[in-house]
């Protein structure tokens, strides 16, 4: 589904990614871990098309297509979803209004009829159950005045509504208490199908207790320095990142 080949990228002239290679097939869950500043969030944002990052080398194929030829909104309509580490507030625009617009953009793209507000309300109520989201949050402005946990849940709600093929979750676990973490993780698990794939960007192993990855990659200084199964995450939890850093320095 996704093929990243020798990806190099910079932000403000500073090189952050230095040759990433990664292949993700449908039905898989990949975790990307690594110390602060290793390039995890950069990778997530580049996949989504954040304008602040410049790709200097390499390519990314999404279902065989060159991802970099598509604008961020086109990527989204093609099924690439990014759950933001810091979801953005949009004052005056209700969550329901925003979600309906996004949902209908996708339907238009697929050549399907748009849903009117009433039809969408039913769909939204259904999807909101996935993250046990309160109906009152639908009429509030997007993320405005939401608690940290509500914002993250709202991201997963959007994922539930948009049903992406590839979902990249950028530190969705950060700032969540244990109950919220459980709800969010269960939400993601419910949305798994054999047809979609999930990339979890995280610092901590605890998220991976709930969402079990097929592959774990460790990113350090812009490269994937180690890949393994879920047990690699446990090893990191136990030993920290220093041994990875040392191994990378030694190599």
């Amino acid at each position: 589904m996704l093929e990243i080949r020798d990806l190099h990228a910079t932000v403000d002239g500073k090189e952050i990614l230095r040759g990433i290679n990664l292949t993700i097939s449908k039905g898989e869950i990949h975790a990307i871990m690594g110390p602060n500043g290793s390039g995890k969030s950069t990778l997530a944002k580049i996949l989504a098309g954040h304008p602040a990052y410049e790709v200097t080398k390499g390519e990314v194929l999404f279902e065989g297509r060159n991802l970099f030829e598509l604008a961020p909104d086109e990527r989204a309509r093609e099924g690439v979803f990014l759950a933001f580490q810091y979801p953005v507030e949009v004052p005056g625009v209700s969550n329901a209004q925003f979600l309906r617009l996004a949902y209908n953009e996708k339907r238009k793209h697929l050549g399907e009829e748009e849903l009117d507000p009433l039809e969408f309300k039913d769909l939204l109520a259904e999807r909101a159950k996935v993250v046990e989201m309160d109906a009152s949050l639908m009429s509030r402005s997007v993320n405005e005045g939401f608690s940290g946990g509500e914002k993250k849940r709202n991201e997963i709600l959007q994922m539930a509504v948009l049903e992406p093929k590839l979902a990249v979750l950028d530190e969705t676990d950060s700032g969540l208490d244990i109950d919220a973490l459980r709800i969010v993780s269960e939400g993601v698990n419910k949305l798994r199908t054999p047809e979609n794939a999930v990339v979890l960007v995280t610092h901590y192993q605890r998220l991976l207790n709930y969402i079990v990855p097929d592959h774990v990659h460790v990113l350090y200084k812009g490269r994937i320095v180690r890949t393994g199964g879920k047990e690699l995450a446990l090893e990191l939890e136990e030993k920290g990142y220093d041994w990875i850093k040392e191994a990378a320095a030694g190599a």
């Binding site: 989504a48 304008p51 604008a71 953005v88 949009v90 625009v93 953009e105 793209h109 948009l162």
Partner: protein, 478 residues
Amino acid sequence: MSTIELLTNKEYKYGFVTDIESDVIPKGLGEETVRLISEKKGEPEWMLEFRLKAYRQWLKMSEPKHWPNISYPEVDYQDIIYYSAPKQKATKKSLDEVDPELLRTFEKLGIPLNEQKQLANVAVDAVFDSVSVATTYKEKLKAHGVVFCSFTEAIKDYPDLVKKYLGSVVPVGDNYFAALNSAVFSDGSFVFVPKGVRCPMELSTYFRINNQESGQFERTLIVAEEGAHVSYLEGCTAPKFDKNQLHAAVVELVALDDAEIKYSTVQNWYAGDEEGKGGIYNFVTKRGACRGRNSKISWTQVETGSAITWKYPSCILQGDNSIGEFYSVALTNHAQQADTGTKMIHIGKNTRSTIVSKGISAGKSNNSYRGLVKVLPGAEGARNYTQCDSMLIGGRSGANTFPYIEVMNNSARVEHEATTSRISEEQLFYLQQRGISQEDAVSLIINGFCKDVFRELPMEFAVEAQRLLGLKLENSVG
């Protein structure tokens, strides 16, 4: 790559010129011009006197060029045509007698005047250059006792009402542009809603400037007697010319006991090109007097056009418990300049006012809010709430807030809140990441920002206003 960079405006779709034969007086302004206009309109002596008094005061006044946050080259008042009217029969029995070219013009502007095509439940007075060409639903309104007609007709048919109220809210010498308007105004709309009547439909006036050389000086007077209710909307467009044109209007509203007037404006005058060439100078005086107890006047404005906007729709809260409201969205793009706001003058006891101003500046435009809240000694228990929000798009535009607060009564409560924000790259990226195009994302953010004002607009026009903002900002982010 900088995402937020200003590009071009959507083509102004109302920029066409109607080719029509007009009755035009020579350029220039003098006492004889004032007399000529009055004569052309067949006015009674008292009306001429009103004009001459205004003209003489105007001569002694000077243009307010220093305090507003706007700049423009000297206006040559001798280089303006003060009267331009499409040639047509003096008295029209029905719309069939209106020049089809004029009907086509208004239809093109989305204002069909033919009975079959008219907007349901909205009566329209169509003003073309200096005169009103048609007023719809007049008879139906008359059956309810509501008078809705051109100002010219009002002077003929309702002289006592006009004499009583004209200039009673905005005196002839109020300010430079009001004095000019009082001297040379050529038409406009008159509304009278008698005691206890709730006007059964929305009233609206559509202003169209067509002649390149002429200014538009219209006059609107709305009177709501005891317990009367009326909602009125004005819209404006003009062709694209390289030369600036002057629009100096005066609007007066009078609300007696328990009366309510809701006045909405969607202003889309030609704004000039990207470099600031051409466009309308919109120098307008709008004021409402809440004369009666429990009366209410509410201004809602969506200002998107004009090269320069200078207007401060105000409320004089004279009656006890009267209420004044001002809801404003002012959008400036390219080289536009706006200095707009309101004045709330609290005179009566327990008077209340609300000000919600949303300024959006894009391009290299400059957008200032200027507002006065004044509480006089007798205004026991007066309350004001002001919220002033500015949004900047791109890095070259400017926003300013100039609040003036004068409180002379200790029991008054005045609150002022102001914010400045920017459409951030992160906001745009977030919406785009959900599949929303960049243009739709900008429009969504702006509409969200303006929500508190849009919900005050009559239903029929709220949608139009949202669409208009979207059009104005199309391609404004690169």
